[in-house]
Symmetry: C2
Subunit: 146 residues, 2 copies
Amino acid sequence: MNIGDAAAASGISAKMIRYYEEIGLIARADRTASNYRTYSMEAVHSLRFIRRARELGFSLEETATLLKLWADKSRTSAAVKSVASAHVVELERKIAALQDMLATLKHLVDGCDGNERPDCPILNDLAGEGQRACCHGEHDATQKET
Amino acid sequence: MNIGDAAAASGISAKMIRYYEEIGLIARADRTASNYRTYSMEAVHSLRFIRRARELGFSLEETATLLKLWADKSRTSAAVKSVASAHVVELERKIAALQDMLATLKHLVDGCDGNERPDCPILNDLAGEGQRACCHGEHDATQKET
DNA sequence: CCTTGACCTTCCCATGATGGGAAGCCTTAC
DNA sequence: GTAAGGCTTCCCATCATGGGAAGGTCAAGG
């Protein structure tokens, strides 16, 4: 199985497969006499594992850890759960940060007429003129200057 | 005002201020006889604008657009709202993607005993063995092989 | 046998936004 | 005058991915 077939079978681009090999995420592939990489179904299995881990948002480093745990028959499920739980926390953190942005931005967009006049609460907020959060003074209001 | 003071006053690192100048996000700063950059309060104002835009998750490219609109007294609020609304959509898309990951991962973590035995539904999912989503077989089930 | 096209190889570069650090000036305060 | 700290430019690293060039290889068909 050449790299192109492995790519098609795993859903990971040939480019990425080579990269994963380079950084040691996967083992160095065997080569044919003409230096082509060859892949077994087992290797494709590993690549699918990686793809799924990436789909769940694990970094390549976390994925490497998970791959090692997968290969280690004497692993504990606690070790796996620990990696996954840390990622849950991280996802929750990221989501919360994005939701904060979204709430603020939606508020500003709602307050903007969106007509042909230049007046705009969005720009006012960015410029720090409106002291941010005009109607329910929360957040920090520490941006007056000059 | 030297770059260090401008950095402190705007909350943007000196490193980033130089970078923003390099990519043309901000105007080239005036220099002293000894080649030090100097900043006016107006320049600091722009830097704060950028910082706020970044806090709301706008890319530097979007931020550049917003800066131009801010400077353009004949802008329409519709133009500003359009940029912001596109970003709202993007934020919603990202949040939804992360929430999908989170829901799946939480489900897996909940199903994992987290004890000293090797059995682990998280690894099973990553390996594609459980056909994913064990209890309500949807998604694609196209990963049996060997 | 030779050509063509589709594959493979390695190598370099780019992204986006940021930080680190080195080498060498400049300034300020003592 | 000297030491500390700020400034300058330049290069490198991150993280995961893609693009593309230059050149080797393989299979099919004339």
